[in-house]
């Protein structure tokens, strides 16, 4: 036990002293938390009416448009949670859309051609990621405007009920930040054994350890504990910062989170170990791990919604372990609901893979060193 404690201490010290490793395990996830939190924190929903805030748009009406139509436009806008900014030329309209003046997000020009309305929507090329959303608002706006102009009240009304299946209401930022935590776990897990087994092996540290009474299994256990401790400290700091900076209070189920954390870390360590076996050279294994992590980060639905991608890319996403790590983390932090049977199945599979991969990797590395 004393040997183990000494080993863990030494490994932690070595990790803290290595500025580069510290960047990847601590600073990198924190930076992502701050960047994504600040960048996307305020953009919560794709529905205009549910925003609570009015959306600003610029409108240009041609000369033929009379006061009655103008008032119908205002009425329609109000009913849809839109705030029009009236401009007096097409050039001004384009300018305000392009420059986003006064918070304008898109523009509409309207021409009355003897009760046939020619509507033109103007979108900013810089907001291409929101174009579909704006287009759908313009379509809705035109439908509503036509009905308002005809003095026609809807025959069928629609009542939208928002369902939450989590104990506490979920915010957009909480949802994104739980994904960032999943990324942090995956990154520190996948690189963990490459750093200790790969680089220590290269520096002949493992060879020297074999010459001492320390067993291979003790070193492996100490290294795993070291990685788990460093990673959990990172996650706690992320959560604390999320709370302080973005007022995100995760509704954590400690049991589920602990299970997800350990199974995900073990799985990722196992995958990292397999990469090390495959490439032998730690730099090559680290590079492969970085490529794999980058691909996982983008295709696992953490930063971009998987559902909007074509089916083949969605299927590819479902092959990536980070997709499931993110799903489990969101569930255990109260950010989404999932079936308990699914949750446990994923965790059991993770642990089974790790239970096979990590000992095999440890054994082979030690054997290689003994030879």
């Amino acid at each position: 036990m004393k040997i183990m404690m000494g080993m863990i201490k030494a490994l932690i010290k070595s990790r803290v002293r290595d500025k580069n490793a510290l960047f990847w395990t601590l600073a990198f996830p924190l930076m992502f938390l701050i960047i994504f939190g600040l960048a996307f924190g305020g953009d919560s929903s794709s529905s205009v009416s549910s925003e609570g805030e009015e959306m600003r748009y610029a409108i240009y009406l041609t000369e033929e448009v009379d006061e009655e139509i103008e008032s119908n436009i205002i009425k329609t806008s109000e009913s849809m949670g839109l705030k029009p900014l009236l401009v007096y030329s097409l050039a001004d309209l384009k300018k305000s859309v392009e420059g986003g003046y006064d918070g304008v997000e898109f523009g509409i020009s309207l021409k009355d051609n003897n009760n046939f309305f020619e509507v033109k929507a103007f979108f900013n090329a810089g907001a291409m990621n929101k174009m579909q959303f704006y287009q759908s608002i313009v379509n809705n706006f035109v439908t509503e405007f036509r009905k308002t102009t005809a003095g026609f009240e809807n025959i069928i009304t629609v009542e939208t009920v928002d369902r939450e299946f989590t104990e506490e209401p979920v915010t957009n930022i909480g949802f994104i930040l739980s994904g960032v935590i999943a990324v942090s776990i995956a990154l520190s897990g996948i690189t963990a054994l490459i750093v200790s087994f790969g680089y220590y092996r290269k520096q002949d540290i493992i060879k020297r350890l074999i010459a001492t009474p320390l067993k291979g299994s003790q070193f492996l256990a100490a290294d795993i504990i070291n990685n788990l401790l460093v990673s959990i400290v990172t996650i706690l700091i992320i959560m604390l910062l999320a709370r302080i900076l973005f007022q995100v209070a995760f509704n954590m189920n400690i049991l589920y989170f602990a299970v997800t954390y350990f199974s995900s870390m073990f799985l990722m360590m196992g995958l990292g170990g397999m990469l090390l076996l495959l490439f032998r050279e730690p730099n090559a294994a680290m590079t492969a791990a970085n490529v794999f992590s980058t691909i996982m980060m983008f295709f696992a639905g953490v930063y971009f919604p998987l559902e909007l991608m074509p089916k083949w890319l969605q299927r590819f996403g479902y092959f990536l372990p980070m997709t499931y790590v993110a799903e489990n983390i969101r569930f255990s932090l109260g950010q989404d609901y999932m079936q308990l049977s699914r949750f446990w199945t994923i965790n059991v599979i993770f642990i089974l893979i790790a239970a096979i991969a990590i000992p095999i990797m440890g054994k082979i590395i030690f054997k290689l060193e003994q030879q």
């Binding site: 510290l22 924190g41 305020g42 529905s47 859309v97 090329a125 759908s136 035109v142 009304t157 969605q314």
Partner: protein
């Protein structure tokens, strides 16, 4: 001799697998990922699953609604998936369970009094005004935090709005017609994601060479006492310094050529990157990235600390510099960083000169801000740079 030095630096760089990977291959991977994601995120493959609960029994209103649902759940071609697939459920509880477990995206409920209210509106609305609570209502239940559920609900609302329009026409209400067209502003040619990302990833490649090659090389030379050793030879330290700059510029050129060939072959990018103005912005990018490298090499004592500092600076700069996604409409809390970040100006400048999109910034600032950064970084570096500091191993 100078040529020899430059050659040997270049060859040693090309022999390092890590350098090759991060400066030459990694940009290709990121480019592929970004183009794949953004050019495919069109929602063309969308298929929503919904449960319909009809408590209204038989009647004209519910028949119309069912006809509409049949239309949207039948694909245009047999091999395609419909926009909405209707999942059979026994009752509301089952539907809610399915929604909770993400087996469906939406529940559409037709309430018990729907047909009765529908008939009342259709037959008596001209005689007496119908209060809103007596109007036939369709209830849509969704999970707002789930993208698919949100979109499914938005589209369903649009479909039901069209049903209302159709009903109005049948009731002889004169609804004015309208046409909708679209124009994208701030763009001077057809937008292409591959061109958009080519500009961003080229700048990313340049900066990673400057930050990681130049910066780390300089600290390495000092740490290993190479500058000191040079002082004992007829060659001046400055020669090594210039050779390092030149070898990094060649790395940038190689990275440019490889990415361009790859993007041209597989993603059919345009030649707009060769417009004189685009080249000007790329040259400014190269100068600025080397300035950052020199700065890092001056302030860091070891290659390890230079690498950590490079990472800390480079990640926010690239993500909030508009290399991968538009940044000008992001939250106001982060805008200050976007506007002081020189990469913002370079990315906007290259894209504007390629005719992809107008930069929402004054033209002079696109050149002035990065150049000012470069001058300030070089002045600081001149002030604090030391040739020695390391030990001769």
């Amino acid at each position: 001799m100078r040529n020899q030095l430059f050659k040997s630096l270049l060859i040693s760089g090309l022999r390092e697998r890590e350098t090759i990977f991060w400066t030459l291959l990694f940009p290709l991977i990121i480019f592929t990922i970004m183009v794949l994601i953004f050019s495919n995120m069109t929602g063309e493959d969308l298929n929503f699953k919904m449960a319909v609960i009809d408590n209204s029994g038989d009647g004209m209103g519910s028949t119309i609604i069912h006809q509409v649902f049949e239309g949207i759940s039948t694909p245009e071609n047999q091999e395609d998936e419909p926009l909405y697939s209707i999942i059979d459920v026994k009752n509301k509880n089952q539907a809610l369970d399915l929604l909770k477990e993400q087996h469906i995206d939406l529940i559409v409920e037709i309430p018990e009094n729907f047909n009765q209210n529908f008939n009342q509106v259709v037959f008596f609305s001209k005689i007496s005004a119908i209060s809103s609570e007596n109007k036939p209502t369709i209830i849509i239940e969704r999970v707002p935090m789930r993208n698919l559920s949100q979109i499914a609900s938005d589209i369903m609302e649009q479909i039901l709005a069209e049903v209302n329009l159709e009903a109005a026409k049948r009731m002889n209400v004169k609804i004015p017609n309208a046409s909708i067209s679209t124009e994208i502003v701030g763009q001077t040619q057809n937008f292409n994601y591959a061109d958009y990302f080519l500009a961003g990833i080229l700048i990313m490649g340049f900066f990673s060479t400057g930050f990681f090659n130049m910066g780390i090389n300089m600290t390495y030379f000092r740490k290993k006492g190479i500058f000191k050793r040079f002082a004992c030879t007829p060659l001046k330290n400055r020669t090594l310094f210039y050779a390092t700059i030149l070898s990094n510029l060649v790395f940038m050129a190689i990275s440019f050529v490889i990415l361009l060939i790859y993007a041209k072959l597989f993603y059919k990018v345009s030649w707009a990157i060769f417009y004189p103005e685009s080249i000007l912005f790329l040259i400014i990018s190269a100068i600025l990235s080397l300035s950052f490298g020199i700065f890092l090499g001056s302030v860091s004592k070891t290659p390890n600390s230079a690498s950590a500092l490079a990472n800390i600076l480079f990640f926010p700069m690239q993500f909030l510099g508009g290399l991968y996604f538009p940044v000008f409409d992001l939250s106001p809390a982060i805008k200050w960083f976007i506007y002081i970040n020189p990469i913002t100006y370079l990315a906007a400048g290259v894209r504007q000169s390629m005719g992809l999109m107008e930069a929402p910034l004054p033209y002079f600032s696109l050149i002035l801000v990065p150049m000012l950064w470069s001058i300030v970084l070089l002045l600081i570096s001149v002030k604090i740079f030391k040739w020695d500091g390391g030990e001769i191993a």
